[in-house]
Subunit: 474 residues, 2 copies
């Protein structure tokens, strides 16, 4: 028995599948969706985006589902697959859609996800020949984003954080080494360290101000208590799709094929704890208490219109080693993404005030290294990346005042407080403060290309736990 005979929907959607390139081209030129909220000029989630997420319904005992963002909604992808609305999907792709995290689906490789997005585009496009009854079926599987709980999109094996913004390296280095702010390896390799995977938290989950030991002032006594210098770090994250085997490399030209997509990231940092512990082995407890991960995974296919040339090399006298040089295409791995960071204090919340914009930066313009270079470097020693591994760009800071991606930089180490809300000031974060990072891509040179967005990455600081608040879990 053929699929057509069993389910008339299969036949109609299958007939919609057109070559991927045509499809991508149409949506990149602003094809509309029959879901009208997707077509607003300020929507993060037009038909051209279709980012992936994992979500749960509060009423459904926390059971996680895979979703795709469209307008104000999230489409339940598992239910779409179960309803046979995606045409002749292979059974393993269907199983990937019905999983509780994105690893299985994106582990199948970029082509599979591309075909899936094409099929979804056909389901959601305004000019698709979908029948009324089929639109009804799809519509029943939409949930308002405001009504769902977002979870981590992938099970993350390892989390690596890079240092790719020269402005950030310079700003922070200047505070600690005024004569020698940027170390000599910065322009030779994308510096990175291993982060903590267990304390990654989804956007919307608050975290407790960490305690730890630190020195009060340079050379001061070592004390213990809640951090006095709680900071944020504005970053773009990258999830690995297909991995590589231990002992093999991912050449820079092949890096894109291993990318699931990009997300927002906030690598919360306790500057006083970090400063005291970090020598000689790098950051540890100053970071490992929480890292917030944005809800949405935006695919490279959606980001295609926003590819851009990587930042210019610092110096001709500092040539790239061949494994970091992309001979095929200088623009691989660089994307133009505008980032905004917003602060809402407890007092502002009580007064019903809107968040204050504290920083705006540009992802690729303000980065010295591309993600393709980071992936090539990460694996050049044979290190294996696994599906779901998370790579952070490191703090993204621009060259201008107000473009720095951390309070450490925005307030010059705490010496120049920010004025926020109605007469409040901030050096570092106070209990009750909430930080939200948003981001979007837009083409000023071509308004026909729709803006796409990353949703938000948000968390609030909760007062430090008392010593007796420990509990055990597995």
């Amino acid at each position: 028995m053929s699929g057509d005979a069993r389910n008339p929907t299969l036949a109609s959607t299958r007939s919609l599948i057109v070559p991927n390139d045509d499809c991508e081209s149409a949506v990149h030129r602003g094809a509309l969706s029959w879901i009208t909220s997707a077509n607003g000029v300020r929507s993060d989630f037009p038909l051209a985006n279709l980012p992936f997420c994992v979500f749960a319904l509060p009423s459904d005992s926390g059971k996680r589902k895979i979703g795709v963002g469209i307008g104000r909604f999230v489409l339940d992808l598992g239910a779409v697959a179960e309803a046979g609305l995606l045409g002749e999907l292979a059974s393993d792709v269907s199983a990937g859609c019905r999983a509780q995290e994105l690893n299985r689906l994106f582990g199948m490789g970029r082509e599979t996800v591309r075909e899936l997005r094409s099929a979804l585009t056909m389901l959601l496009a305004q000019d698709s020949p979908l029948r009324e009854r089929e639109r009804d079926s799809v519509e029943k599987l939409l949930y308002a984003q405001k009504d769902v709980v977002f979870e981590l999109p992938f099970v993350v094996g390892d989390y690596t954080d890079f240092l790719t913004s020269l402005n950030h390296a310079t700003n922070v280095g200047r505070l600690y080494r005024p004569d020698n702010p940027v170390l000599p390896n910065f322009s030779s390799l994308p510096v990175a360290y291993h982060g903590r995977a267990s304390s990654l938290i989804p956007s919307g989950v608050d975290f407790i101000r960490p305690q730890g030991q630190y020195r009060q002032g340079h050379g001061g006594a070592v004390t213990f208590g809640p951090t006095c210098k709680l900071d944020l770090e504005v970053e773009i994250g990258l999830f690995i799709g297909r991995g590589n085997a231990l002992g093999t490399t991912i050449p820079i030209e092949e890096a894109d094929a291993h990318v699931a997509g990009l997300c927002l990231l906030n690598d919360w940092s306790a500057r006083d704890i970090q400063a005291w512990e970090s020598q000689p082995l790098g950051p540890f407890l100053g970071k490992s208490f929480a890292t917030s991960v944005g809800s949405w995974v935006v695919t490279l296919d959606a980001l295609e219109p926003y590819r851009t040339a990587p930042a210019a090399r610092q110096s001709e006298a500092d040539p790239l080693l061949p494994y970091l040089h992309d001979a095929l295409d200088q623009s691989v791995g660089a994307f133009e993404i505008h980032l905004d960071t917003w602060l809402l204090t407890g007092a502002m919340r009580e007064a019903g005030a809107e968040p204050t914009l504290i920083s705006s930066a540009e992802f690729s313009r303000d980065c010295y290294w591309t993600f393709a270079q980071m992936i090539a470097h990460h694996t050049v020693n044979g290190c294996n990346l696994r599906c779901g591994d998370l790579l952070g760009s490191g703090t993204i800071s621009g060259p201008y005042a107000g473009s720095e991606g951390s309070l450490l930089e925005l307030t010059k180490g705490g010496s120049a407080p920010l004025t926020v809300g109605h007469g409040e000031s901030r050096t570092f974060l106070q209990d009750g403060d909430e930080i939200t990072i948003t981001a979007y891509c837009a083409r000023a040179d071509d308004p026909a290309v729709p803006r796409i967005g990353f949703g938000e990455c948000r968390a609030r600081v909760v007062e430090a736990a008392t010593a007796s608040s420990h509990s055990n879990v597995n």
Copy 2:
């Protein structure tokens, strides 16, 4: 229907269960096993040890099983549970025994594992009233250790490596900072960094010499190629049993309850890559190509007779912060373990020579911090540890020549080559070199307490991969 009626074996083994304390006491005093190879004075695996492992049979398509070491054998714990030989085990414990990794079993907590070891002791003790037919049943589930393939014992979420040996910190620090070898935070907190979990490999699996960028000499040109300074790091690892929730702490007095057991660890290091990349964020590609994990997880219950006082504090003027001070028992977390490290070069292997002993050290005597302190520190900021997480002690180096746990130290940064085998010399590792770490605990003051061992942690260096050897996996 009672278990007794269903299966006569259940009745007989259940009747053997005696209070745990008596049982532990008997085996700690050298109770014998009917498996005679367990009773030899040089056996790593007497009845008193019963360490856990995960193994596969080459003939069985790599299906992983949980095992327990006894004499020259590994006992198939899943099959033992399935055969009903463990008495009235709860069904979830039985499921834990039949899993493919130790996470499920050890996630149930230390008491559960203790009861399981008691039941196994009853099955394997010489003086147990086991009937001939029951011994036959057990005997059929034994495999010679030499015939099985050992796998990683746990699925590791995060791997953290500490810096606990003052001798190591001093020896290495002296090479880079002659005037200031040990940094001021060393005696205030157990310094640590996040390691790479994906490249953990089981003992017996070889690894490829990593490539990377490094400078030739201080301030020399940056070049790319296979590391010239491949080194080992002799460590003890600790697997977490029950974890803690994000935002909570594990107080030092409760640390032991969260420990699954200890293992051998070799944190391979490319010193030239590490030296060039490590500032300001710590080690990355210089370590992430491979870390070898010993096959056996030795429980704290087995290690009980070898508890010892932690090393004396460096200075009275440098008091411990309260969260690192164990008010209940100063000896918590410190164990006396003797470590030996052996080198077999390719030439020695061809000549049929035995490995050369290149280093011997004592785990606790040569460590400044205990594992209980490391766990309390790791979680003091609210960082969550998960079942299966791996903590490394860091390189264990003693105070004497020949007790250093790395070639960097043994050869004084490569300036004093070791003589090995028949006239060969080594500064760092050559292709074909194989390093084996072994370890045991013995009580010179009380010969009635049987020696227990850790088996081995072994790997060989394979020539660097050529650039074209990359491949993709999920």
